[in-house]
């Protein structure tokens, strides 16, 4: 395989399959793989090797914590408690002997507390205005759970869930991605340019209280234009989440990604099917209603009549400058992807 005939090297193809390429290169690799039978064969070879290696599983029974570990734990806990007591005593002595500092310290604490209160209020106000600020609202999901909680152990179930986003006439010929330990991976190659996958909680706005909700499973099928221009945002967020970045870091990098043109603007005609009756969008609405989504560069929602009385169009605050400069309109449809009638919205 020469680089003259292929847009990607063989090693790059392997790195793509391993989820090790940066977003832009991964998108290029994905597009090339769709069109290159030779690379598809090589990819199948790599997958075959990995699959066969998995035959070597090591059986391990349930083993409790050994007595040695228990003893070491006890010792550590006792040391920790002693250290805490010593620290407290030292602190008390210092505070007693230097009581005159207490008044000054109290004044400083009040000042700092006042400052923090004001800062927090400003931040929350920013978040409620949809400005993309990272609001630290009281939430049941304050931080990321272990990665295992976001993965679906049954690969076939994830494939089926991803496909349920769109009618079979579309999803049966779509590329299917599943989430692995290192990001989204191709489970099934497609033929029609659509890409279906199950998004996780970090597709939510950054100020969402459920940004880390590990129960969230959002089946989506992107049309070709959205697969090229919206899906990279999913990859980007996923890569950063799995790399352990903070929300602030993620927001900064997304902003930089758009500034550097690493992340694309929505292509004309970019849209997505979300017609699964088996998804779980959040704790409040469960699987919601079947709908379609349409993506644009930041757009005045009044141009679509979105959110007006009796208008079927709503604006989804998923992106809306927080920080992705994208407006997303949602239109409910009458049936689930399996053709059954959905309840009225």
């Amino acid at each position: 395989m020469s680089t003259n005939r292929h847009l990607i090297e063989q090693e790059e193809l392997m790195a793509y399959l391993d989820g090790e390429l940066p977003t832009r290169q991964a998108t290029e690799a994905m597009s090339h793989l769709d069109l290159c039978p030779e690379c598809q064969t090589l990819a199948a070879d790599f997958r075959s090797v990995s699959r066969e290696l998995m035959a070597w599983e090591v059986e391990s029974g349930e083993v409790d914590i050994s007595p040695e570990i228990n003893a070491a734990l006890e010792e550590r806990v006792q040391k920790r408690e002693l250290a805490n007591v010593s620290s407290l005593r030292l602190k008390n002595r210092v505070m007693t002997s230097r009581w005159v500092w207490a008044g000054a310290l109290a004044i400083v604490c009040v000042a700092v507390g006042l400052k923090l209160t004001l800062t927090s209020r400003n931040r929350n106000e920013g978040a409620s205005m949809g400005m993309g600020a990272v609001g630290d609202r009281s939430t049941a999901y304050p931080s990321m759970a272990s990665i295992e909680q976001y993965l679906m152990p049954d690969r076939d179930a994830e494939i089926a869930l991803a496909r349920s986003a769109a009618p079979e006439s579309i999803s049966n010929h779509a590329k299917i991605l599943v989430l692995g330990w290192r990001g989204y991976e191709t489970a099934i190659e497609g033929k029609n340019g659509f890409v279906c996958l199950v998004e996780r909680s970090w597709g939510n706005p950054f100020n969402s209280a459920e940004f880390w909700n590990p129960r969230i499973r959002v089946p989506e099928c992107f049309n070709p234009a959205a697969a090229r221009s919206i899906l990279p945002l999913t990859f980007k967020r996923t890569d950063m989440v799995l790399a352990g970045l903070s929300k602030v870091q993620m927001i900064d990098r997304i902003k930089a990604g758009f500034e550097d043109k690493e992340l694309p603007a929505p292509e004309p005609g970019a849209m997505c099917y979300m017609m699964s009756r088996a998804g779980y969008l959040n704790d409040a609405i469960g699987h919601h209603v079947p709908h379609l989504m349409f993506y644009f560069p930041l757009t005045d929602k009044s141009s679509w009549g979105a959110d007006l009385p009796d208008s079927p169009v709503t604006m989804n605050p998923q992106f809306e400058g927080g920080p992705e400069p994208i407006t997303e309109f949602v239109i409910p449809v009458a049936k689930w992807s399996d053709g059954t009638v959905a309840p009225a919205m």
Binding site: A15, S50, E52, I69, A145, S146, R182
Partner: protein
């Protein structure tokens, strides 16, 4: 639900429950790490426990610069190296060691192991860290102190080499080869 790193920090702060959760998450993966490399289930179990002992003893030094996953396998690699040094001076050890139990077809497992053993030792370690421990290229590079590009090129080489071995083996003993299209339970690597 809490991330590994948050659990580790809680454990640093004295939480026994946090340690127990980490133990529950990583005992089997660590047993698998040693089990595949030592062919001795008893020592594999001992060393998995020793890894956790090392975590307890060094907890105060842990800094959340790397993932807990990488941190644990870093400790495990050091214990493995020490074990191999001991093994090198004690030939009786391996001869008396029983084969580890596996969940897969024993003949298929033997065939995979034999193919793996033909690989260059350094390449094999990179391949195993990627396929079985699910570490990223950069994590492997950090653990083995080699450039990321070296990890990628060796991984590429070892996968192609292994593919050749496996195909040769399949021609020689077609009955041993697992169905190429049939995924194995617990599959988490390249898909």
């Amino acid at each position: 639900m809490t991330s590994d790193e948050a659990l580790m920090l809680e454990f640093q702060g004295g939480s026994r429950a946090a340690f127990e959760e980490l133990f529950a998450r990583y005992r089997k993966p660590l047993y698998g790490f040693f089990g595949r490399r030592l062919n001795n289930p008893e020592r594999a179990d001992d060393l998995a426990q020793e890894t956790f002992l090392a975590v307890i003893r060094a907890a105060h030094r842990y800094e959340p610069r790397a993932s807990v996953r990488t941190y644990l396998y870093g400790i495990a690699l050091k214990l493995l190296a020490a074990e191999r040094r001991r093994f090198a001076t004690s030939s009786a050890f391996a001869q008396s060691a029983p084969e580890p139990k596996t969940d897969g077809n024993p003949e298929t497992v033997l065939w995979v192991r034999q193919a793996m053993e033909k690989l260059d030792a350094r390449d094999r370690e990179i391949l195993m860290l990627r396929e079985y421990e699910q570490l990223s290229y950069s994590d492997i590079a950090e653990l083995l102190r080699i450039p990321v590009n070296t990890v990628r090129s060796r991984l590429f080489r070892s996968r192609l080499t292994l593919k050749g071995y496996l195909e040769l083996e399949a021609k020689t003993n077609p009955a041993l080869r697992p169905s190429a299209g049939q995924p194995h339970p617990g599959r988490r690597g390249m898909q």
